[in-house]
């Protein structure tokens, strides 16, 4: 009950051990790489540098992914093989269409909006006097947990009957201009858009920070040259800035797409998937963990893998081009 510093000491010691272990790991890898014989084929070096990461990935993600795939062909309790039943269920349940449609809306809108807003904002505040403050303001939501964000936005969308004081900002504004208060999260399909706003609000800071770093990385000479050529700001933006930070934009788009596909916290805390707002990841969580239907949850997870294939193919193409 009391705060006893002595009781906390073992934790700090553990932290020191952790940091020491980190230094040892880094040192060992670097020493090994330095010592390894130089050959034309870089196999030894690659192995030393890649092995720790690959090992962890195998344990933490590859094995679970294989397991999930196997589970998707099994019954809820994981005791019988049921073939494609879980997949059949997935595509025949009545709301599947709604869930798929919602996921599609999310994955199309979120990366676009996040990237666009982040890019515009990063360009606008770049090298202004208030850059640091301005970036911090937009970054702020990133620092708030999903639970916190859920609370904030429930307050924004909150509804009270017309005759009462509104406690939600949005309805207060609507009432102020003479409108009727709305139940924003209960009217499909618009409610999905209101949820997307929350995601964009959280993630725009990510885009701003990454893109801002990329903009600062544009070589001064290119900017100078464009200036000498008499480029207008818009030309600068489209002909110099945009192409120069293309890879950073791809990074943002890709991470946002994947993050959006996996997203379930916002939907879960804001509507619980009610009112036709559910998305695949939310259904997956419900089936696998709340309903004990591991097989169905796993099938949805595998379907998520499949959805990301286009992005993977795009990456492969990109790499091929880059290497050529």
């Amino acid at each position: 009950m009391d705060f006893d510093f002595a009781a906390e000491l073992p934790k700090l010691v553990q932290l020191l051990i952790g940091v020491a272990a980190f230094l040892v790991v880094v040192a060992v890898i670097l020493v090994l790489v330095d010592r390894a014989p130089m050959r034309r084929r870089a196999w030894t070096h690659a192995t030393i540098l890649l092995l720790p990461a690959l090992l962890l990935l195998t344990i933490g993600l590859v094995i679970p992914a294989v397991r999930t795939t196997l589970l998707s062909f099994m019954s809820g309790d994981g005791k019988q093989w049921v073939g494609m039943d879980n997949y059949g269920w997935m595509f025949t349940q009545p709301e599947a269409v709604t869930v798929l449609r919602n996921t599609l809306i999310w994955v199309l809108l979120v990366p676009l909006l996040v990237t666009a807003i982040g890019l515009v904002y990063a360009v606008l505040v770049d090298r202004t006097r208030f850059e640091s403050l301005a970036k911090s303001l937009v970054f702020l939501p990133m620092a708030i947990s999903f639970v916190g964000a859920g609370i904030i936005w429930r307050f924004v969308y909150a509804y009270r009957a017309e005759e009462q004081d509104q406690i939600g900002l949005l309805n207060q504004l609507v009432v102020a201009v003479g409108g009727e208060p709305q139940q924003w999260l209960q009217e499909p399909p618009l409610n999905t858009l209101f949820l997307i706003v929350v995601m964009v609000w959280i993630q725009a800071g990510f885009a701003t920070v990454v893109l801002s770093a990329a903009i600062k990385g544009i070589p001064a000479e290119i900017v100078e040259a464009a200036k000498l050529d008499g480029a207008t700001p818009l030309q600068m933006f489209f002909r110099v800035t945009l192409p120069s930070i293309r890879s950073a934009i791809v990074v943002v788009m890709v991470t946002q797409s994947i993050g959006t596909l996996k997203l379930f916290d916002i939907v879960r805390t804001m509507t619980g998937g009610q009112f036709d707002t559910s998305v695949i990841a939310n259904e997956m969580y419900n089936q696998a963990f709340r309903y004990g239907e591991t097989g169905k949850g796993a099938a949805l997870a595998v379907f998520l893998f499949v959805l990301v294939t286009p992005i993977v193919i795009y990456q492969i193409r990109q790499r091929r081009e880059a290497l050529r």
């Binding site: 009270r160 009957a161 209960q186 619980g272 009610q274 963990f289 709340r290 004990g292």
Partner: protein, 451 residues
């Protein structure tokens, strides 16, 4: 319960212990700082002698009960833990249903879990994860609870654990003050209730208020409504058939019961007092559902006994106070089936100290100690309702302990989770949000797991 006093007291306690620690550090290390430092041989421990000594043993408990309520639990079993030497590590979580499955599957389950859903307990029992209850616990349960309760923790003939706390759901909250002022009487039958509702609606306020928003569990208060009415309409046996899916979810009888609820919940003249039209029920947090009663904006709110905790600070819960509750009447005033819920103590381990803790929790001493600390209801016989902290707890205890009471557990907690914690909740939310009864019930029926 004053929220204001708690932190200050805590700071004080922390300060005292801090001082005591300093003193200990300077003086002899043997000196025990706490006043009640009952070493296991002291007279207070005589009461626990039957549980034996388990020095240095640890039992972990995992439960959906957390924060202030969890503290009361820990406080209640503290003497037991000190005397038997068992260290009880308690962990409360808001994600119980999901987490317990992950931990059990991952080979790292707690020793004991408090299951609020018999359906979930059954799933773990069938998967072979749970250990059957000891003879001692079995005996205690047989003497302490009615057969109905024991049945809920029995899977394929094996008994897994005793019930713990309980709540009564068949209550309608109202304001005795408002009723006296307006000259309204507590209704004894469903028809009287509907007549009263019309009368109240005639005075310009909406008689009922409700809220079913509850995060990812949104919809459950509406399912409670349906269950309560079904229990009255088709009787306890019919209710059991419905829970076991022997009676289809879209059977005309169920449709009729749901429509009966709809006569209140989907009637814009009757709801949603203080909050707006019917649809506002779906977005009103269940914790706030009944609050308009205290503001005179609504007169009736159907919610479980634990709603006593949710009234604004300073609201007096009593038969002559600001708020109180009456039994939700059915068609026949002579029949009073009770809908309720509660937790069950099941174990993933069968070490002696684990079984000892289970036995203690199943005894009459634990609920008695727990009730003295704060609001709590148990269905265990031999616990004096006079210990209850508020009149609703007392009333609930009396109803639960009465051998003539026909008790039924919350159906959604008994059904497979995909329905009981999934489509049933979701369906009723859609129903409130505008979908018609038949469509919703067809949807729920179709979602029932095939195997």
């Amino acid at each position: 319960m004053s929220l204001l006093s708690r932190p200050n007291r805590a700071v004080l306690v922390a300060g005292t212990i801090g001082l005591a620690l300093v003193a200990t550090a300077c003086g002899s290390p043997e000196a025990k700082p706490s006043a009640g430092g009952s070493s296991s041989t002291s007279p207070e421990c005589a009461a626990f002698s039957q549980y034996g000594k388990h020095e240095g043993k640890t039992v972990s408990i995992y439960s959906p009960i957390r924060d202030a309520e969890a503290d009361l639990f820990e406080q209640a079993w503290k003497p037991f833990a000190q005397c038997t030497g068992i260290k009880i590590t308690y962990e409360g979580t808001g994600e119980f249903e999901a987490q317990i499955q992950v931990r059990a599957d991952g080979g790292n389950p707690p020793d004991i879990a408090f299951f609020p859903q018999p359906g979930l307990l059954e799933r773990f029992a069938k998967a072979g994860k749970l250990k059957p209850a000891s003879e001692e616990v079995k005996k205690l349960t047989a003497e302490g609870w009615s057969a109905d309760w024991a049945k809920y923790a029995t899977v394929d003939g094996t008994f897994y654990g005793a019930p713990l706390g309980a709540s009564v759901k068949s209550f309608v909250w109202y304001s005795p003050k408002m009723f006296t002022e307006k000259g309204w009487a507590v209704p004894k039958t469903w028809d009287e209730l509907m007549t009263l509702s019309t009368t109240i609606a005639g005075t310009g306020i909406k008689p009922w208020c409700a809220g079913i928003e509850s995060g990812d569990a949104t919809g459950w208060p509406a399912t409670d409504w349906i269950e309560d009415i079904l229990l009255r309409e088709i009787g306890p046996e019919g209710y059991d058939d419905w829970v076991a899916h022997k009676l289809p979810f879209n059977d005309p009888k169920v449709v009729a019961a749901v429509d009966k609820v709809g006569a209140i919940l989907k009637n814009d003249k009757f709801v949603n007092g203080g909050y707006g039209p019917v649809k506002s029920i779906a977005s009103t947090a269940f914790q706030e559902g009944g609050v308009p009663i205290t503001q005179g904006k609504c007169a009736l709110h159907r919610q479980a006994s634990f709603y006593a905790n949710f009234w604004p600070e300073g609201t007096k819960v009593a038969e002559d106070g600001d708020v109180f509750a009456f039994y939700l009447p059915g068609n026949d005033p002579a029949k009073k089936p009770v809908l309720g819920a509660g937790e069950f103590v099941a174990a993933f381990a069968d070490r002696p100290e684990v079984q000892t803790v289970q036995a203690y929790l199943a005894s009459a001493e634990f609920p008695t100690a727990r009730m003295k600390l704060g609001t709590y209801v148990t269905a265990r016989k031999g616990v004096d309702p006079a210990n209850a902290q508020n009149p609703i707890d007392k009333l609930s205890m009396e109803m639960l302990q009465d051998p003539s009471t026909i008790f039924r557990f919350d159906g959604s907690d008994l059904m497979p989770a995909a329905v009981g914690a999934g489509t049933f909740w979701k369906g009723m939310t859609d129903w409130i949000n505008g979908k018609d009864t038949k469509t919703v019930l067809d949807y729920i029926d179709a979602s029932w797991p095939k195997s």
